[in-house]
Amino acid sequence: MPTMNMVQALNSAMDVMLQRDPRVVVLGEDVGYFGGVFRVTDGLQKKHGAHRVLDTPIAEGGIVGTSVGMCANGLRPVAEIQFADYIYPAYDQIVSEVARLRYRSAAAFTAPLTIRTPCGGGIRGGQTHSQSPEGVFAHVSGIKTVMPSNPHDAKGMLIAAIEDDDPVIFFEPKRIYNGPFDGEPDKPAESWVGHPSAEVPEGYYTVPLGQAAITRAGSALSVITYGTMVHVCLAAVQALGLDAEVVDVRSMMPLDIDTIAASVSKTGRCLIVHEATRFGGFGAELSASIQERCFWHLEAPIMRVAGWDTPYPHAFEWEYFPGKRRVMNALRKLMAEAV
């Protein structure tokens, strides 16, 4: 089986779907001739033609607005918003149109649209290339919100998203496009080569949306996380030698609360970790949902590690990023807590 990094895996997903389904089109800024600023659409226009892989004007509201119309005319657009930080001009089209079209027309019209967008920090991108806005989409009824953490999931989930009859916002943690990242910026960059999740089938397969994954089994505590932070948490758990269970949420909406609650009910302790800001973040939803189901199993209060509630600072990237040390401190504290 070939080894792929996340960029190659995502490219392969779109290639497979462009080949397989004539309704699929790819559009976005710089995605055609140039192949995308992160190379995710590299070669797709050359192979599938300029009528199916479209360079667009720099207008996110236009990209999403025209995608809705394409959906109404039977296509399955895969729209790229170049950085999640640039998605807000399209927010009205996403919230008021994409998410509501099925509901308001009683399913007469639908928007089976996939919006791919790179998110997250750790690349010295400052506040306009580092944000993690998954919470403001997961909050909106009518769209699915997902984020893979490795090449195998990235390809299988993107194909599932394209085939899904509901709209999907597909977040790509860009720090781990080319290799896993344990949260220590001074170490040499790792590659996906040799990582078990980098074994990616060449052809068609899906990883269903709405299913969390147990990335590491354990019984002492549960770490509930997603995206880049899966790798940071694994490193932190390993450094402390804890028998922790690490759950990769993968899909915020629909949320696989059963898998998550089963883990926390088993271990009795829960740490929630995400890069996004803490206040009103997706971790709050996780915490509430877990507490509602696992209260009588809990041996300690649920804890959260998240981005500070500030804009993403350029100069203080590593003071801001919830890295290995911050996760380790939280793990120690959680293990010391007793009811």
Binding site: H51, G65, G69, N73, R104, S105, G142
Partner: protein, 413 residues
């Protein structure tokens, strides 16, 4: 030292003031040239600042834009415009009686929708605003279906989820109307891009108010339409008023809205929106241009919103009551009737008989619609429907919330 001074657009007449429509630049009927539909964009620039008119003040059809429609087509147009108006009048009354919660009339703007729908092919896809019910009527949707939507009753096509007038119909190729302004404009362009990607001959048409051209989606639509030469007609209905805001506040001073077309590289046409023949001819021209691969047209339809914005505002509080009588382009139904009388195929007697017939038709539809319930009486929608169509399949968390609501309802019964 010179200082800058903020320009505040002038409003022609507030309540109590004398109406002044001198700002509406008119061309004489028949005066404006009609180039071939494949004309270069730059050559449409003069058309975007003139006014395409066919019917003159005496009701005669003159000039190169005369579509030379058969009398039966004109009579159909008159009938559909009248039906739209009588439907509007009846629904306005039912709102005042509290039977429906909200309504938007298209009084005075019927030609904008009806003539356009008649000039387009049946398979062309329409993206209406909330004041284009003439499209739904002209495309043959049943009044009962429209009324059931207004009533949010057990036959409501939107299953009780939308404000009145936010209709849709897949078989009639009418896109779902949004309450959000301008969102349909780029969507129509995307639909047209898809038709071109698939190599089909259908085109799309969208309607927007002149006030909404200020929204970013309007500019996205024009840019994308220009870039991909999308087969779409982008109609700007300039009815002079956006609730209380005069068209000058959308950038209409000394510059037509149609001129946004040539400004961005699209054909532009400014048309007498109360002249059924002119709207028909201009739409047919733009459709031919789009269908033959020459791209989109920005079509400004100059008209006047003769009624309130909606049932929620009183226009006498922000504009002169006399404006409507002094509007220089008259009333679209009266003008087409005048033309037909002149042609010898219509008279007052036949007009009165048609009004009576259509009023009965509307009344019968209303009786049937309310037999399916109203917001307060008769058959009701199942509240469990609230949780459906958020996603294709009902997810677990919504199933839980639905069951909680149903338990709450059954406990209170």
């Amino acid at each position: 030292m010179s200082v800058s001074k903020l320009h505040v657009p002038a409003v022609p007449a507030r309540p109590g003031e004398r109406p002044d429509f001198s700002y509406v630049r008119l061309s004489a009927a028949g005066e404006v040239a009609r180039p071939a539909p494949d004309v270069a964009v730059a050559d449409t620039a003069p058309l975007a600042e003139s006014l395409v008119r066919v019917l003159d003040d005496s009701g005669q059809a003159v000039g190169p834009w005369n579509p030379k429609l058969a009398p039966e087509q004109l009579l159909t147009g008159l009938r559909l415009m009248l039906l739209t108006r009588l439907f509007d009048e009846r629904m306005q009354r039912t709102q005042r009686q509290g039977r429906i919660t909200f309504y938007v009339r298209s009084l005075g703007e019927e030609a904008v929708s009806v003539a356009a729908a008649m000039a387009l092919a049946e398979r062309d896809m329409l993206f209406p605003s909330y004041r284009n019910q003439g499209l739904h009527v002209a495309r043959g949707m049943s009044l009962v279906d429209l009324m059931c939507q207004l009533l949010s009753n057990s036959h409501d096509m939107c299953r009780g989820r939308q404000l009145p007038v936010m209709y849709h119909s897949v078989p009639h190729r009418l896109f779902s109307i949004s309450g959000n302004l301008a969102t349909q404009f780029p969507q129509a362009v995307g639909w047209a891009m898809a038709a071109a990607i698939k190599g089909e001959s259908d085109i799309a048409a969208a309607w927007i108010g002149e006030g909404s051209t200020a929204a970013a989606d309007f500019h996205h639509a024009l840019t994308f339409a220009k870039v991909y030469r999308a087969p779409v007609i982008l109609n700007i209905v300039n009815n002079q008023w956006a609730i209380s805001t005069f068209q000058g506040y959308a950038g209409g001073e000394q510059r037509s809205f149609a001129a946004r077309g040539p400004g961005i590289g699209l054909a532009g046409l400014r048309v007498d929106g109360n002249d059924f023949l002119a709207v028909h001819a201009a739409t047919a021209w733009a459709a031919e241009r789009a269908r033959s691969g020459h791209g989109a047209t920005v079509l400004e339809l100059v008209t006047y919103r003769a009624g309130a914005h909606s049932t929620s505002d009183d226009p006498s509080r922000y504009r002169s009551r006399e404006e409507v009588e002094q509007w220089p382009l008259g009333d679209p139904i009266a003008r087409l009737a005048q033309h037909l009388e002149r042609e010898g195929v219509w008279d007052e007697e036949r007009h009165a008989a048609l009004v009576a017939e259509l009023e009965q038709h509307v009344a019968a539809a209303w009786r049937e619609a309310i037999s399916h319930g109203t917001l307060t009486e008769g058959p009701k929608l199942d509240p469990a429907l609230m949780f459906e169509d958020v996603f294709k399949e009902l997810p677990a968390h919504l199933r839980e919330q639905r069951d909680e609501l149903l338990a709450e309802i059954s406990a209170s019964e």
